[in-house]
Amino acid sequence: MRETPRQICLEEWDQRQATLARQGGGEPSYGGPLGRHVEREGNGRLRQLRFDNSTAALRLWNFLLTENQRLRAARAQGERLVGAMKDLGTVPVMAYALPRVRAFYPDGAWWTPCLMECTDRLLNQAEALGADATTCPVRAMLAAFQNGEHFPRPDLLVCSAGAICDDFSAIAQRLERLGSAVLWWEMPRRREPETGEASCALPGGLRAPADQVECVRDELRRVAIALGRLVATELTAERLRDGIQSANAVRRELQALRETVYAAAGAPLPALEMLIAEMLAVHFCSDRDESRVVLGGLVQEATRRVAARQSVVDETGIRVYWVNPVADLRAMNLLETCGGQLCGSDFMFTHALDLIPEDLPPLEALARTALADPMVGPVQDRARRIVQECRRYRVEAVVVSRIPGASHCAWEGAYLREHLAAELGVPAVEIEVPPVCDALLPALRTRLQAVLEIAQSRRRA
């Protein structure tokens, strides 16, 4: 059932899905109408979103929105669950290298207040637990652990500490104080090697002192031992190597998707679906192999649309690079509404998009990848990568999104906006998106539309 690409509302998707089901559309076990996620789980925000109308996108959304069910089913079948906190893409690779272990990302609860339009009251509960509105919305995770109504309590909770977000560190420490045992591992702040200092190449064209790589490798070794004990199976180098290959298979799909979509003349897929797809790289949405299938479907759809010169927006749309994820998914829809198309992104975990080196000892490879995290190094490194991608994808405007209360990006956003505008000579705007942005939509829309208008006038000039 192929139609011209466009963004459709929830009701239209449910009608289409019903037709698909009657025709024997071959949906996966977690498939079905998106509307059920509103009725059963209270994800009322879906009513406000505009979705891509491809079956590949339907699969993506159903995959995302059934994660908690997937975790509970795994628990019921005796699998061990690992909560990988503040680790965007390293510990899950290790966990999935073991049999009967499933890693997930409790931090992902930061989107629950958005999806449930704050009816979950997680943010209020987090405040009562000591994490108020001056901290990042990821504080929702604290309440989700306490009330147990969202994800199941993991058998092992692993969290990186050190050069990570201050807010998250405070929230995770509060979680530990409330009774959740946490296995901490240290992440040093990445720095440039000094002249003559032994150093290592990292993914993404970065370098770090060899001492730092060794430190992270030793920390990850502790994590590997703890993971192995969880299922009484040693996490050997061989298993890790296989795990890295499987993770890279997912990352290759994502790389192909980004290249297909961002290099295209139009927008083969909308910004919202690209954000969700990229999130799969962090923790595989609790099913590594299915992540690959879901991403593969999106690559096929995007490739088909590019070949057919089809786009979800007018091909003359302004080419936009987006920095940082948004707390309210509705904000991503605004891009197309205002006449833009997503042609590049840094959603804070670009290191999870790079392939993990397969020609190194596996723990060494994972340590180097972890150290390439844009959030643990200087913002200048992050800006350099963004500039490269903007040039590669002929970007005409940049949007830097901020998350209210998130201290790790309070100043970084302003630096990125000014640096990118100066370096690239394109207009850049900074926006702040809270978990439910309805009241701010007119203002957000004005900012986005204005920056696209500036880009449009430069294009004409």
């Binding site: 505008a421 207009p427 702040e432 701010l440 007119p442 203002a443 829309r445 004005t446 900012r447 539309q449 204005a450 208008e453 500036i454 006038s457 430069r458 000039a461």
Partner: protein
């Protein structure tokens, strides 16, 4: 309002916060672009615009062709907007022009320590209770609004600076802005309509 016959209108551009609620508009353009166009039409030498309205405030930088180079907006807080002045006028039981006339009698503008309108209202009550002259409070609030807007602009605004929006109708605000910027500020005729003028010019280009 303009007394035009509907048949005489060849194209309609909607601007401002309500622009998406104008079903008969051919297109929508933000007030940022419209102010830029309107100001460039009235004062082609202008390189910066400070626009303060009741809803928000903006600093807009222009290139030599009148195109927007960059902008900054305060749309989250009433402290840098006309709303602050409206609140003060209401508290002092004055109308809009009465507030400005009062501010011009100030001998020593009060220092407002709060940047939040809600808290500032409490501060104003405290100042009145301490016997601070209402004229000094009015001038202090105008200075506070000007300081807030210039701080939002981030970097120095290139001259010539044009001041638009309804708040530009207050001579006291013009002086406050000039004081904070350290340079003269130009105010076009009917500064509250500059955005509408820009929208009309842009609509004319589409007709």
């Amino acid at each position: 309002m303009a007394g035009l016959d509907g048949a005489a209108i060849q194209s309609v551009v909607a601007t401002g916060y309500g622009r998406n609620r104008v079903p008969f508009a051919a297109t929508t353009i933000t007030e940022i672009t419209c102010h830029a166009r309107g100001v460039h039409h009235l004062d082609p030498a202008a390189r910066s615009i400070v626009e303060i309205g009741g809803q928000d405030s903006k600093a807009i930088r222009l290139d030599e062709h009148g195109r927007v180079r960059d902008f900054a907006m305060n749309d989250r807080c009433a402290a840098g907007t006309g709303r602050f002045l409206e609140m003060l006028a209401s508290r002092l039981a004055l109308d809009w022009s009465g507030l400005d006339e009062l501010s011009q009698r100030s001998q020593r503008p009060a220092v407002m320590s709060n940047t939040c309108v809600v808290f500032a209202e409490t501060e104003i009550i405290g100042l009145l209770a301490e016997g601070v002259a209402a004229a000094d409070i009015a001038a202090g609030v105008q200075h506070s609004v000007a300081t807030r807007v210039v701080a939002m602009a981030g970097r120095a605004l290139d001259p010539p600076v044009v001041f638009t929006g309804g708040v530009a109708l207050q001579p006291g605000m013009v002086r406050a802005l000039e004081g904070v910027l350290g340079c003269p500020v130009r105010v076009p005729a009917d500064p509250q309509f500059t955005g509408a003028l820009g929208a009309a010019i842009l609509a004319g280009g589409m007709a």
